[in-house]
Amino acid sequence: MKTINFAIDLGTTNSLIAKYDDGTIKIYNNPIGLKQTLPSCIAFRGNRTVIGDKALDYLEKDAENICMLFKRKMGTQDTYYVPSIDKEMSPIELSSLILKELKNFVNDEEVLNSVVITIPASFDTIQSNATKKAGYMAGFKEVVLLQEPIAACLAFANTSNTEVNEKQNWIVYDFGGGTFDVALVEVNDRELKVTDNLGDNYLGGADFDNLIVEKLIVPFIEEKLSLTNLWKDLKSKTTNFNGLYFELLKIAEEAKKELSHYEDTEVELDIDINTENFYESFTIKREAFEELIRPKVEQTITFIQDVIKNNQLLKTQIERVILIGGSTYVPLIKKRISEAIGVEVNSSIDPTSAVALGAAYYAGSKPATVSDDEITKEKVVEDSVDFKLFYEQNTRDLEELITAKVNSKEVGSYRIMRRDGGYDSGVKILDDGSFSEFVPLLEGRLNQFKIQLLNSELDVLKTIETVAINQGSYNVQGQPLPNDICMEIDDLDASTTRLEKVFAKGSILPLKKKIYKTASKTILQQSQSNLIINIIEGNSRGLPSSGLSIGYIEIFGKDLEEDLIKGTDIEIELEVTESRDLKINVFLQACDQEFKNVFSESERAISVNKINMEINTVLGDVEALIREHNSEENFEYSQQLETIRVGLIETQIAASLITDDDVSDAKFQLDDKKRKLIQDFDDLTRNKVIAKEIEEYNESKESLEYQLSYEKNEHFRDKYSRIIKNEREVINSGNKYLIRAKIKELDELYYAIIKSSDENFISYFLNLKFCTDFSNQRRADKLFKEGEKALDKQDYKSLRHIVYGLTALLPDHEKEKQKNFKDDSRTGLS
């Protein structure tokens, strides 16, 4: 059986849409903006129609073209004349526009044919039929009405699992932002029925905010500044205090919310009055606030008492009071009702969404009677809409033009929305079958848009989802960077230095970025130790010494005003101007000291020391590789390496003959030569290194998968899927550091699984038997013996500790390597 499932709370000031889905209720969020609620307000701006929050913008300026509170006129002959479109709009037409907008909240793949719409308990037959008509006008094929207090009771009953076996009387107390309603509902084991209702259309929570401003904030300001008449001035159109009035209302609203939770709240005023700044704060106690709103609250209590009295009931015959509407968060309300009626007051359901929630429960139980035939018909229309779109896909501007030509007689309007919720054009009329619209873009992001094409009744005929504009990445004008610009940093895990990309190849100049690093070594004021900021132009995946150093700063202990302590923050700001000047600004937080340098390509800073150091590092690697390949009789390859080795040594000798203050260009020639040699070495070895890393990655993955196949804990499996999610990306990156990081993640998970169960240590123990390089063989033998015993006894807990003991006896290669990563070969940045 297909059920209706969708429900709409079509409210006087706000509306919501919800869906019943297999026992749970989803209340949809407005895709533009963040709220679940849509203000029931429409602005007509000539060729543009704005529905919801943004329609309120025009309230002051263009009130005659704004339609709101039309629910109060449902079922009457009254219409709203809208000058900007020269048309009479009926409350039914206006309500249908709100319903259509709510349909937009639902994902496009859902089809909405049937819906439950809520109405106030006070609606008569004509008003109810008018609501139904609005539903049909909005494109629904089936509309079922439900009274709001009933929906609230359903929300309460379904969320609290209340069972009612005999007849009971409940009261639904609905105190919203602008209206107040109270309903008496009769509940028994079969049905819910509204027996009576009363209300005031001009009493709401907004009155509380105004009272806080008028009676508390304004007198405080007046006293401090010796002003009079401020309250009147705030609300007057002729004074300049309009903005201040809004600001104070916001402050009051915040204070009201705070006072629902705390006994007092601090109101901080930082405002400008008559061009003077006023900065003061004061405390509002809950007591004072409650005194202020008490008369309004008492008014609502009288309504409850009246409704009970009118129905010849006694207070004791009321079983419970259910609170809905945003204003019921105020504790005084709950307290006063309890005192006055003496029954359980329930505020367990969310007061804003309760009606939509209850209506959705109802929709989930109500069979839908319309078939799906209509849907196919609509699809045909959608496919027949022909259109062409024009726009820049990449831009550096913060605004771009989207132009379209639509070849369809049915399409009359369009609407553009940015998917992140930051922009909505509103519904606009096509001009001669086309439109051109400037859309704002979010900086540095891929801005995705959704474009709707609508007919004259504002039904969506076609939705275009493919429009995306990339802000900031590319531009036809402007110079792109020919190479990555990187910074050399320490790679403590691998005991070497590596490049970290700062600006990617192809980025458009000028560029500026701040990088935050920590000091990887301590530099004492008296020490010879130094901090190296080396900015390199070249492939970020290559060795640091293979790139061109375009900016180099050494900060020595003697330059420091205080010791630089390992682990403290270093802030580095890099800027490459359009004329390719490089500005480096280093700030050492611990020393509160700043170093500024500007480099331009024509005056490269090169240190002979640095050349020497780099050659030494690479030489070691080259020689090790030559030995390895000689032993594998791979002579052709080792011959290529040998050429590089000789070149490096020659460069080193030449470098030793010049001094740092040499003014000739010898230094630069040597640096060039060094770079070329190291690049050759890089090219020769990179693929091999990557292949090796990938091999290791696969090995780690295989062992982990083997372990996972025996593992019952789902948590590990989830973690595994998360790690390998972007596997392809990482492998194809050709970046050994990324692959290395992945291997580390896999290995960590592997060890976590092993450690989660003592039994996993069996295979570990057996594997250790093949090791020969224990630092203390006698102790290892003893542990093996104990291990065998533990195995026999199936005492895996002890076995685990024995494995730990044995592992500690194995040499730590990593530690050794780290020891060799000497202080003077480091940059000091990590």
Partner: protein, 97 residues
């Protein structure tokens, strides 16, 4: 998290108002951390206001026209970037004149 961002933003505004730039570095660093966590914070001060901007809640003083500008930002616009998808997390609260 939005509350923390709002407080830092308020602190930043207060310092700028008092012409106090001695702590800028630290505030910038905090903003940087927010960005690293996937928050994009936008201060629309001085921008021309268009009704189509659904990322701000505008309190409009006087008549809304093409010349209307955002003259005060009480809360910044906050977007959240997750898996390369951007979504609005908090609307800015602004005064438009």
């Amino acid at each position: 998290m939005t509350e923390i961002i709002n407080q830092v933003f308020a602190l930043d505004l207060k310092m700028k108002k008092d012409n106090n730039d001695s702590l800028n570095r630290y505030v910038d660093r905090i903003y940087h951390e927010f960005e690293a966590m996937g928050f994009q914070i936008v201060n629309p001060i001085g921008q021309a206001y268009r009704n189509e901007m659904t990322d701000v809640e505008a309190n409009i003083i006087g008549d809304l026209s093409r010349k209307s500008k955002i003259t005060k930002v009480l809360k910044p616009v906050i977007y959240q970037v997750e898996n390369n998808e951007t979504r609005l997390l908090q609307k800015g609260i602004v005064i438009v004149e």
